[in-house]
Point group: C2
Chain length 298, copies 2
């Protein structure tokens, strides 16, 4: 039995379209309405079955809906919430998929105050908004983590509906405070992206740039993979989670200073300690997450 008769997805990219496909596959959503900026992408989503219907009128789209998912890039959330505010009916639950949560909540407090009880801020830790409906998949969320950061005002029933929807997609749902979310994601996702971009930028400025790129191996490949991500999306995320990211950059600079001081003093024992702590933690994480064992690639 579908527990969502009418689902609206605003922003039918990889994240939004995969949500539609997964809920349909689970038999959890009956009718799915899609809104978005790019007609061709919406058509792709309709052909794939991620949505049933394309709507241009926001008020018509959300009328009678149980759930609205905001899956547009996080920079557009304030504008969408402001447009949604006057047309949303009581009883329609709204959630989002933005990668940062304090900024979304601040926007909701400003533009969506009347509907705070039915707003459930969320973040599926998977994939990316930038790749479009063509890359969407009904099993994108299988085994992935979704973090909900409810407000004190949020209705328990609204959280329950959003939790049920994500669980129907095969995801594990965590609940935490928005500040903790932003710290955690800042550390494990936003900071490495920022560092990866900065490292790749350094390489492109090197006078021996061609030689570097010619001789770069598998260690370089893995370390820099995230630096190939969407510049627009990551600019928005970094700006939206600025405070956590700045704190992360400070902490990282301190760790690099320890390393640098040890290197200058040829202090092999401090280097060993730091590398051993890091290596043990990384290997343990790899085992826990079922990663294949790896060598010490160059």
């Amino acid at each position: 039995m579908p527990f969502i008769r009418r689902l609206v997805i605003i922003g039918v990219g990889l994240i939004g379209a995969s949500f539609g496909l997964a809920l349909r596959r689970a038999g959890a959503a009956e009718r799915i309405i899609g809104l978005g900026r790019t007609r061709a992408n919406l058509e792709t989503a309709r052909r794939s079955g991620a949505i049933d219907e394309i709507q241009e009128d926001l008020a018509a789209a959300v009328r009678g809906a149980e759930l609205v998912m905001l899956a547009a890039p996080v920079g557009q959330t304030p504008r969408i919430l402001a447009q949604l505010e006057p047309v949303l009916e009581r009883g329609t639950v709204v959630t989002d998929a933005g990668s940062t949560k304090q900024s979304v909540i601040a926007a909701a407090r400003t533009f969506f105050g009347r509907h705070l009880p039915s707003f459930v801020p969320g973040h599926p830790v998977a994939g990316a908004e930038s790749s479009g409906a063509a890359g969407a998949s009904g099993d994108l969320y299988e085994g992935r983590n979704v973090i909900l950061t409810s407000l004190p005002e949020t209705d328990a029933a609204a959280v329950g509906l959003v939790t049920a929807a994500w669980e129907a997609c095969g995801a594990r749902v965590y609940r935490m405070d928005a500040a903790e979310h932003d710290h955690v994601l800042g550390m494990v996702s936003h900071l490495p992206h920022a560092l990866g971009f900065a490292f790749m930028d350094l390489v492109t400025r090197d006078p021996s740039r061609e030689r570097l790129l010619e001789l770069a191996g598998t260690g370089f490949r893995d370390f820099t993979r995230i630096a190939g991500s969407s510049p627009e999306m990551w600019r928005d995320i970094c700006l939206a989670n600025r405070d956590s990211l700045l704190a992360g950059l400070d902490g990282f600079a301190d760790c690099v200073d320890v390393l640098r001081t040890a290197l200058e003093a040829q202090d092999g024992s401090t280097l060993s300690q730091l590398f051993e702590r890091a290596s043990a933690a990384r290997r343990q994480w790899g085992e826990r997450s079922g990663e294949a064992p790896h060598g010490s690639g160059q």
Copy 2:
């Protein structure tokens, strides 16, 4: 026809044993003698066919050899060169597989001066020394890059023999100056490893450490993979290539400063420019090196 009748491999780990297997498979080496610290590992190498014979006596091992490969960890190179110096015959070529080259050359000038014409410093940019003979493979060097950093004193014939050996292993041989090698490898390998260790160290010190590791995704996985590498090996490499690494850390700090300043000023356009430059360079590198296209994973 084997062009090496007697090959000696000192240090039969992943690198040394794979060299033996590859040369045997190519029919380039007739008899392969192995020396090392760990009996069990040497036995593994013999069983796999990487070596024919285990020797404990260095003088007996190298007598009549065309080629000696030093494939022990780079920190042991000075000691091995010093032991080799009095027993090596004229006409035996010596090469090494150390990840840093200026430090190896400095050791050779100190301990191996009489034999400089037959010493060909080298570095196969592949795999790692730390994983032992059990992980060795005859195709480890297939399509990989090997860098030779000859001295002004090195005989052309010695370089020719080492080049032929690596080409028989399927590798592409580059020649460059040791300082350029150390800069290039410092940038594309040693610096990312140092940064990867520092980042992983930061994560392990975080009060929310458990939460971080629980919610870390594929971006984190790739970015930190090199932080699982051997601490001892990387301590030695970092110390041996200290000057290049310190210069790389300075350059990186400058790039991070640009990012940090833009972030503080909420200067999205500078962030965009930096991210776009980095992302374009990384995508181009990925295409050139035949990597599968990727999304913007979290």
